[in-house]
């Protein structure tokens, strides 16, 4: 499964790169991630939320790191879920000082029952998920936090679009 998306963020390239480069920040805008732990030597341990309160985890390594330009990572051999991704940072046109962020992800879900878990986990639909992730990243960097409404109290999330809470205060 492949997914790619892009967004323009009204912050300088250095700020956006720096935020993403600290991988422990990723769960703040990637809802499916519970945590990312940096283990050293360009490696990290990722834990993702799975259905029924379970988690799925894997180890990954950075394969490219061009400061203020590009990051790429991939899961280590033997991971339950093979996945890889890259993000590029480009100054937005003009003097505005913004950053164009382009993300490409790919997942190789295993077959069978585990495959179904993975498909659900990484995709509510990988394309929607990564688009939501970037929207949330933009909100975090431009406004300080993921923006919530009472209809969507967790913030932007494609699954929520069909199961909106009524526009009434959260209990």
């Amino acid at each position: 499964m492949q997914a790619k998306t892009a967004i323009t963020i009204n912050r300088p390239v250095e700020d956006v790169y720096r935020f993403w480069r600290d991988l422990t920040n990723l769960p703040s805008f990637m809802n499916h991630l519970e945590s990312v732990e940096v283990t050293g030597n360009g490696r990290s341990h990722w834990t993702a939320n799975a259905p029924a309160g379970r988690t799925v985890d894997w180890d990954a390594e950075l394969v490219e790191d061009e400061p203020n330009q590009r990051l790429a990572w991939r899961s280590l051999d033997g991971s339950q879920v093979r996945n890889s991704g890259s993000v590029s940072f480009t100054p937005a046109p003009g003097d505005g000082g913004g950053t164009e962020v382009r993300v490409e992800l790919s997942y190789d879900p295993p077959g069978g029952a585990l495959g179904k878990v993975v498909a659900k986990l990484f995709g509510e639909e990988p394309q929607q998920q990564v688009t939501d992730d970037l929207r949330r990243l933009k909100q975090v960097l431009e406004t300080g936090a993921v923006v919530r409404s009472e209809g969507s109290p967790e913030g932007t999330r494609s699954l929520r679009l069909v199961t909106q809470r009524p526009a009434q205060p959260v209990d």
Partner: protein
């Protein structure tokens, strides 16, 4: 708390719901002292706007007293009296930096829905469907105000609620409608719709230097009010053909600027055209009725400006693009970037250049909101604007 909730097409109930709480650090909670029913609320009431859910709290024109602030709000304190602008804006994105507050890129968590319908999403709005954020509105005892350090304006003066409430939406909307006309000395401005927004557009056109203002509507009481408060020359489209009337009034030239303050639920006198558009709406082939817009375009002088502040939701049929293109018309639009106008218009109110309360015809308790909506929609009892008190 009690709140006016949308329960379905033409079905409203004032119900007991939870009190709002702080969800983001930059929120504030406001105890609502006055709120109003907007013409655009009628599109929600009549079922023209998609993505409403049963239980949604309505209302985007409200003001009151700050009763709680989130930890990151430093510009407001408990006890401040504020008017809250209807679009929700973060202040930091590409759009907000250009003062295009109703286009804020961050305040619609449900942006994906709006993108499917419109290409890109505008800002979230209080009480105006899930496509525009799923935020509860202000026809309630309390409201959560996101980005409280960006939107609300503090009222330090003694001015009563009725004089400042309309800063939340309709006064800046009318003003922006007139401003988009780029009025030059000697200009003739025609306004379709003599409701509160239309009348504020007429008043603003005068403030901005229009030489003549023409009001187009079918209700004599509204045309009278417009004439009395803005000096507008009345044209009643049920008594006369608008194109002919404007031809006569402007000696063939056409108005320099035409403001559409009507929007998607336009009423059409010509029965055949009315039937056409209604049939297409029923078959979902057309969602909006562009009668006023078509007329505004056709009547406008060559090279003039059509300024659209009436709300549209979806698609219109039979749009006179040939007239627009061949005659160098400028069409300017927008949900009002209200934040931009709060301070300048408050000053004009303070200086007595305008008293917006002239549009108010009825005052009701919040509990009578459902009756109020019906009265407002059906123009009963010479209704122009209803202010609700929780």
């Amino acid at each position: 708390m009690r709140a006016n909730c949308w329960m379905g097409k033409t079905s409203l109930e004032v119900r007991e719901v939870p009190d709002p709480t702080i969800l983001n650090a930059r929120d504030a909670i406001v105890r609502v002292t006055s709120t109003a029913i907007c013409g655009s609320d009628l599109h929600l009431y009549n079922g023209y706007i998609p993505t409403m859910r049963k239980g949604d709290i309505l209302g985007h024109e409200f003001m009151g007293e700050v009763v709680e602030v989130g930890p990151a709000v430093s510009s407001l304190k408990v006890g401040d009296r504020v008017v809250v602008p209807f679009p929700i804006a973060c202040g930091a994105c590409f759009a907000c930096q250009r003062e295009l507050y109703s286009l804020c890129e961050n305040t619609n968590p449900n942006a994906a829905i709006a993108e499917k319908l419109m290409g890109h999403s505008p800002a979230g709005i209080f009480g105006y469907s899930h496509m525009l954020g799923g935020y509860p509105g202000g026809q309630a005892e309390y409201a959560r105000v996101p980005f409280a350090d960006v939107g609300p304006i503090v009222i330090e003066d003694d001015l009563p609620d009725e004089q400042v409430l309309f800063l939340s939406d309709i006064l800046p909307t009318g003003y922006m409608g007139a401003e988009m006309c780029d009025i030059q000395p000697g200009d003739v401005v025609a306004v379709w719709g003599a409701g509160p927004v239309g009348m504020f557009a007429m008043a603003s056109a005068r403030l901005l230097g229009a030489e003549r203002v023409i009001a187009i509507d079918r209700f004599p009481y509204r045309l009278r009010l417009a004439a009395e408060h803005t000096g507008a020359e009345p044209v009643n489209y049920e008594e006369t053909d608008v194109a002919e009337a404007l031809q006569w009034l402007t000696a063939g030239r056409g108005p320099d600027a035409c403001i559409d303050a009507v929007g998607l639920e336009a009423h059409q006198s010509n029965r055949a055209l009315r039937a056409y558009d209604r049939t297409k709406q029923a078959a979902r082939l057309e969602t909006d009725r562009p009668h006023a817009l078509r007329e505004a375009i056709i009547s406008c002088r060559n090279g003039g400006t059509v300024s659209v502040i009436g709300v549209y939701g979806g698609m219109v049929d039979k749009f006179p693009m040939g007239s627009v293109m061949n005659r160098s018309l400028t069409i300017r639009n927008g949900q009002c970037h209200a934040h931009r106008y709060l301070r300048p218009l408050l000053e004009r109110i303070r200086d007595r250049e305008i008293d917006p309360s002239f549009v108010i015809s009825h005052r009701l308790p919040l509990d009578q909101a459902p009756q109020g909506f019906e009265m407002f929609r059906d123009k009963q009892d010479d209704c122009t604007k209803i202010v609700l008190t929780p």
